[in-house]
C-alpha cells in the first residue's frame, strides 16, 4: 500500500516543488530511510509496512533536521504518520525545522497499529494513503497507576534493572536534538555502571521529555531490553496535560516549562 504515496511523491519531485523526499525504501529485504531525489526512481519507496503494518517505522524527522540544516534554502518532502506529524509540529515550536520548507505526505495507520501504539490520533491532518482510524485510549498507564505504591516501585525497578544503557531510546528519539546530553554527564548521572542508577537515568530523560515527547513510541521499539518506556512517557505527557493543559504535538505554542515566570503561575 504505497501507490498513492509514490504517485504523490512523483508529482512533487516532477514539478520541482521539493528538492528531495525523505521516506523509507525497501532494498534487498531491508527497510530504511532514503532521500528520494529522482522522480523516476521510486520503485523501492515503501511506507514502512514490512511483515505487519508500520513495523518498520523510522525516526525520519531526526534525519530531516540534519538534512535541512545542510540545505537550509531547499524544500523537502517527508513521509509522515500521525506521530511523525506531531513530532514536526513540536520541532517547529522548538525551532529545529521550518514549516515553510517542508511538504508532508501522510499515511494513516490501520487499526492494528493504532491499537498497538495506543495512539490518540493515528493519522496526520492530511493523508494520501490508508483510512482514518479512531484514536485509542490506552490502558498501559492505567495498569501501572492501579498498582499500589510498592507495586509501582517494584515494577519500575524490575524493568529498569534490565537497562544495558545503550542510549538507543535517546538516539532514536526525534525530539532528542540537544548537542550535549545530560545523560553523558558524570556529575548529573553516574556513568560507567550497568544498569544505570535506578531510577535516576530514566527519570532524568523523562524530565527532559516534558513538553517534547509526542508519543511516537520509537524508544520503546528500539529498546533491546524491552523496557516499557512508552508507558512512562505517556504518563509524562498526561501529567503535563493535567497540570498545565499542554500536550506536545497537539497544543500550539511553547511548553509551559519553557516559559518564564509571570503569566504562567500555577
Amino acid at each position: 500500500m504505497s501507490e498513492n504515496v509514490r504517485s504523490k511523491v512523483k508529482e512533487l519531485l516532477g514539478s520541482g516543488e521539493i528538492k528531495g523526499f525523505l521516506g523509507l525504501s525497501n532494498k534487498y529485504g531491508h527497510v530504511g530511510p532514503h532521500l528520494f531525489c529522482d522522480e523516476n526512481d521510486l520503485d523501492h519507496l515503501v511506507v514502512g509496512d514490512w511483515k505487519q503494518p508500520g513495523d518498520t517505522r523510522y525516526t525520519l524527522n531526526k534525519q530531516l533536521i540534519h538534512i535541512a540544516s545542510k540545505y537550509p534554502e531547499e524544500v523537502f518532502g517527508v513521509l509522515v504518520r500521525g506521530c511523525d506529524e506531531r513530532g514536526l509540529k513540536s520541532l517547529f515550536t522548538w525551532n529545529q525545522l521550518k514549516e515553510d520548507k517542508l511538504v508532508t505526505v501522510g499515511v494513516a495507520c490501520p487499526p492494528m497499529l493504532a491499537n498497538y501504539c495506543e495512539c490518540r490520533t493515528p493519522f496526520p491532518d492530511e493523508f494520501v494513503e490508508g483510512e482514518k482510524t479512531e484514536g485509542v485510549e490506552g490502558l498501559s498507564v492505567a495498569i501501572v497507576d492501579n498498582l499500589d505504591l510498592a507495586g509501582r516501585f517494584d515494577y519500575w525497578t524490575d524493568v529498569f534493572s534490565r537497562c544495558i544503557k545503550c542510549y538507543g531510546c535517546r538516539d532514536v528519539c526525534p525530539m532528542c536534538f540537544c548537542k550535549e546530553c545530560a545523560l553523558e554527564d558524570n556529575d548529573l548521572v553516574g556513568t560507567g555502571n550497568i544498569p544505570p542508577e535506578i531510577p535516576v537515568f530514566h527519570v532524568t530523560r523523562a524530565i527532559h521529555m516534558v513538553g517534547r515527547c509526542i508519543d511516537c513510541g520509537l524508544c520503546n521499539e528500539a529498546c533491546p531490553a524491552d523496557i516499557p518506556l512508552r508507558t512512562m512517557y505517556k504518563k509524562v505527557a498526561d501529567i503535563i496535560d493535567d497540570q498545565f493543559q499542554y500536550r506536545p504535538g497537539y497544543t500550539k505554542g511553547k511548553s509551559p516549562l519553557n516559559m518564564l515566570g509571570v503569566g504562567t503561575e500555577v
Binding site: 509501582r152 525497578t157 535506578i198 527519570v203 524530565i207 501529567i239 503535563i240 497540570q243
Partner: protein, 76 residues
Amino acid sequence: MGDCHYLYGNYATKKRIIFLRELLGFMGIESDRLRSRWISSAEGPEFAHEVIDFIDSLKAMGPSPLNQAERALRAA
C-alpha cells in the same frame, strides 16, 4: 513567588516540582519525599522549622525504597 534572586527561578522550579512529584508517585516513590518551600535568606527560624518538619515527615515514612532496592541489587 517572583521575589527570587534568579528572577523567574522559583516559577521555573515550581513547575518542575509539580511535575516531578507526580512522576515520583508513578515510579512508586512517595511524592512527599520531595518538598520545595520559598524561604528568604533572612528567615533563619523559618528555614529551621521547615527542615525539622521535613525530617519528621521523612522519619514517619521510613527508609526510602530506593535505598533498599540498591542494597538488594548489590547483594544479588
